[in-house]
Symmetry: C2
Subunit: 347 residues, 2 copies
DNA sequence: TCAGTATACTGAAACGTTACAGATTGCCAA
DNA sequence: TTGGCAATCTGTAACGTTTCAGTATACTGA
């Protein structure tokens, strides 16, 4: 079978996916010209360019990802690395939606790379980098000294972290200002007369644990309120654990009359614990909690909430990685979002 | 630069990713032999095979996905097609975790393909098929006559649906038995003396809307209870809408004394509506609700719940697609999971 | 001895793309 | 007329893999 015969076959079999060769045959040009024309290269005549692009659009040409990837090494993939522990009211769907929204009109695909808590969090990142499976990576559960960030920085692969690091290295991130959140929560509680405050903290080890604890402590210092230590609890414990320990705490002589909680799920447990101890929200104790969906006010009207938008986190993180891939300076791709006001139930 | 020189370079630059050529050079064999040896082809000597596999393991060889994909057309990708409307307490993270769990020890990657409600749901599926971006697809929000399933069946691409279709076509699916759920819920409510029941139904148009409505109606027929129509509400409406309409309903003369709710988020709204009308859960009205996380009993102890496991849905759906890709008969990859008992708050 | 055959291996081609190094044409200045 | 140059276009090679069509060697049976 000679070359012309082959091309005619390509053309004839209407249900094969069109390739550059198909376009080349249809336009009477060479594949190189077609390739260059489609990406608006300067050395292609204006009319030729228009002609090629027209035909391409007509027959629904889409570049073969494998071909591009093999030739250029560009995967057109962003990977979101996720811990897969089952969590009540997980925010990962919001992040995914946010990321999706941003990459929707780009050639990028989003792949989800999971790891279980028993694994080293570095494993999935290593896999991605070594197997060259993605052009960019998004990680969460960021630590002050994060081996994953260090590793990717060494290997030169673009990434963004949900939460900041503290290693003196510069990379893109998006973060919620948890220092401000905790401080504002404390001020609000002090403002409504609460004097003994407990903190339901983020997981020890994550960067925003420190931010939250500091915001809590610093704001306490401005007021006449004091801290009731509650270090045995953090928001990644089970509902039952948090609930039990809250109930124990609330049965003690010196019990808190205010809580600051870093997550809505933990708040549900805390409230249950408070009620287990026979106390009443809004009367004996107030709770300020972060939430990512308008849920807590349905749960108990007395709750005081601050909203954190994880969909926004997703869009910002995606923008950051794409920005880095696109050549922007990593240092220019860092955002911190301020919390809104503490809001009480409105009618 | 001659061939040997080139190979030595490949070997020398220790940080390049090893390819079949690297392996061929190291073992002194041809690339073809190495390729065959790695996949246990029969015409390769036992010792050679072992030797190649040893070296491959030592240097951490991983087949280049783009190379494989270009040559064979196999993408090693499963796509999960998702509607990206912001939902309170979304279950998509559970499904993702379930799918991830199953594909973790396979070469498959999971890509998330989103579409917004304004789009035709067929669009993302068409894109996937036309661009050949996945070996298998998982879709949800399945309809009795589902154009996406029909389309993929025509194109011969393996897929699984979350929820059944009703087109006389056979394909893999996983479903929760919503008929049984609704029926069981009605029987339970009747059993505790409730006489006027309302249904908070799934979105009209989805297959499980029919299942739920039928289970509700059939079980009602067995009892002396009757239905209070509540057709203006379905679970994909906003919290505020459901809440308002529930409150309106509960202020009428003939109001329900029992609800069956197909989703936890809707249940929160229904309860709020009930309380807005000045009525009390457990005394004036009982609610049986599905939930996917142990959340509702923290919300109100009086709620009656039935659990639906979306992580299981994820694992079953993934198994189904992989099974079909692996050559199993589509008809053998259909599962329906029975609901557990209606459970009240336990101590 | 020799053809026949099983065993173990191999090079070349192809998948679709892009980068590189030309090739062709027309036009202009000298 | 000719050399030079800009403007367009083109073929070839390469990315890493698998498939195809072999080849070389040793063993078998008659």
């Amino acid at each position: 079978m000679d070359r012309d015969q082959k091309d005619r076959d390509d053309e004839a079999s209407a249900h094969e996916r069109p390739t550059l060769k198909t376009l080349a045959f249809m336009t009477g040009l060479g594949v190189t010209t077609v390739s260059r024309a489609l990406k608006d290269a300067p050395e292609i005549g204006a009319e030729t360019r228009r002609r090629v692009q027209l035909v391409a659009r007509q027959i629904g040409y889409r570049p073969n990802r494998a071909g591009v990837r093999l030739r250029t090494g560009k995967t057109n993939v962003i990977s979101l690395v996720l811990n897969t522990e089952r969590e009540i009211m997980s925010f990962v769907s919001d992040i995914i939606y946010g990321v999706s929204e941003v990459i929707a009109d780009t050639p990028y695909h989003l792949i989800v790379t999971p790891y279980s808590r028993s694994q080293d969090p570095l494993d999935p990142v290593k896999y991605l980098v070594e197997s060259g499976s993605a052009d960019g990576v998004i990680i969460s559960r960021t630590q002050p000294n994060d081996p994953r960030a260090r590793y990717m920085l060494e290997r030169g692969i673009p990434f963004a972290t949900h939460g900041r690091t503290d290693m003196g290295l510069v990379h893109p991130y998006h973060d919620f200002d948890n220092y401000a959140f905790a401080a504002e929560a404390v001020r609000h509680l002090a403002g409504i007369g609460r004097r003994r405050l407990a903190l339901v903290a983020p997981p020890v080890g994550l960067t925003y644990y420190g931010h939250t604890v500091n915001g809590f402590a610093d704001a306490l210092g401005e007021t006449s309120a004091s801290e009731v230590p509650f270090n045995t609890v953090s928001i990644d414990q089970s509902i039952d654990q948090i609930r039990t320990r809250t109930a124990q705490l609330m049965r003690r002589d010196v019990r808190p009359d205010g809580f600051v909680s870093s997550a809505a799920a933990a708040t549900l447990a805390v409230v249950a614990g408070i009620e287990d101890a026979g106390l009443k929200l809004g009367r004996d104790v107030d709770v300020v909690s972060k939430q990512s969906s308008e849920l807590l006010h349905l749960f108990r009207r007395e709750l005081l909430v601050v909203n954190e938008d994880f969909r926004l986190a997703g869009t910002e993180l995606a923008r950051a990685v794409l920005g880095w891939i696109g050549g922007a300076a990593p240092g220019s791709l860092q955002t911190v979002v301020k919390p809104g006001d503490v809001v009480a139930y409105r009618g």
